[in-house]
Amino acid sequence: MDEIKIIEIKKSVFADNDQDAARLRKELKQKGVYLLNLMSAPGSGKTTTLIRTINLLKDKLRIAVMEADIDSDVDAVKIREATGVPSIQLHTGGMCHLDAEMTQQGLDNLALQDIDLVILENVGNLVCPAEFDTGAVRNAMILSVPEGDDKPLKYPLMFTVCDTVVVNKTDVLPYFDFDLDRCRANVRLRNPEARVIPICAKTGEGVKDFADWLLQEVRNWKQS
């Protein structure tokens, strides 16, 4: 008779990815490259925000962008045309997120010796990307006003893992029931250390605050 043998494993499925991510971060540190993982829901204005930010920083830093999407390369082309910085498209092949291995493969296609800052525009999604450490130095996310100030309550993990929350589309604040103070309080519940930066990517208002934060971050990373 067949008997069932049990082999105990007791291991988190994320353990290998966490190791890959830690190794990647160490490599980036040695090379003096800062990787920002930028996340948000679809349509929050990630690409427009990036174009504004890059145009403010491209004289001070050597920047590259990796666009992750399930399909198409519209974002990579748009970034390249609007900013002139190298921009590559990563296809996740149906997956809703990037992990450290996919991020590493993307970085292999960039001339890292000539780059200070790589911005990874993750797949538009508030759930899955938060689960997977990409190897980035920091996580940031963009929350746009029409999405509502309650999102930190509904998507707790995303707001727990992000160091910076950019609130975009502040020009439409008068038309939505979105309270910036309530939003700040909700973000603080998830991550007391997170900073909230209100911007309007369309007009450019506040984008400098985000760019200044990022510039300081890159300088600190390269010096420390």
């Binding site: 067949d2 008997e3 069932i4 043998k5 049990i6 082999i7 105990e8 494993i9 007791k10 291991k11 988190s12 499925v13 994320f14 290998d16 990815n17 149906g94 997956m95 809703c96 997120h97 992990d99 759930v127 899955c128 689960e131 997977f132 309550l153 993990l157 519940l189």
Partner: protein, 116 residues
């Protein structure tokens, strides 16, 4: 749909363990999945069936999911409570100074192998 990505991670880990133990077929994989891990068990099972059957090692292999309860600890009063019922706010003292004790795990507990 990060369930598919998680399934690929499980397969990678199980393959490694099977190799180390000289196993050529696995009949079941047992998972401990926390209530607030954001993994949806039936989606995980669907993805599992699709991906596992493509591997000789895992053809027909069953994925057993134990759902483990989420528990939050309150620093305000030192007590614990069920996360899913009360969220971030302690039902005993109404403090929001609370943190998740467990219930976020996505863990491979063990695998079952027919010993022939």
């Amino acid at each position: 749909m990060h369930e598919l990505g998680i399934v690929f991670y499980i397969i990678r880990d199980v393959k490694q363990v099977a190799e180390e133990n000289h196993v050529n077929h696995v009949s079941a994989v047992v998972m401990d999945i926390g209530e607030v891990s954001t993994v949806v068990p039936h989606l995980l099972s669907d993805c599992w069936r699709w991906a596992a059957d493509k591997e000789d090692l895992l053809k027909g292999c069953e994925l057993k999911v134990n759902l483990t309860p989420a528990v939050t600890h309150c620093d305000g009063c030192g007590r614990e409570y069920a996360t899913v019922s009360y969220g971030k706010t302690c039902p005993h003292c109404h403090s929001e100074n609370t943190w998740l004790l467990r219930g976020n795990e996505v863990e491979i507990k063990e695998i079952e192998v027919k010993d022939t």
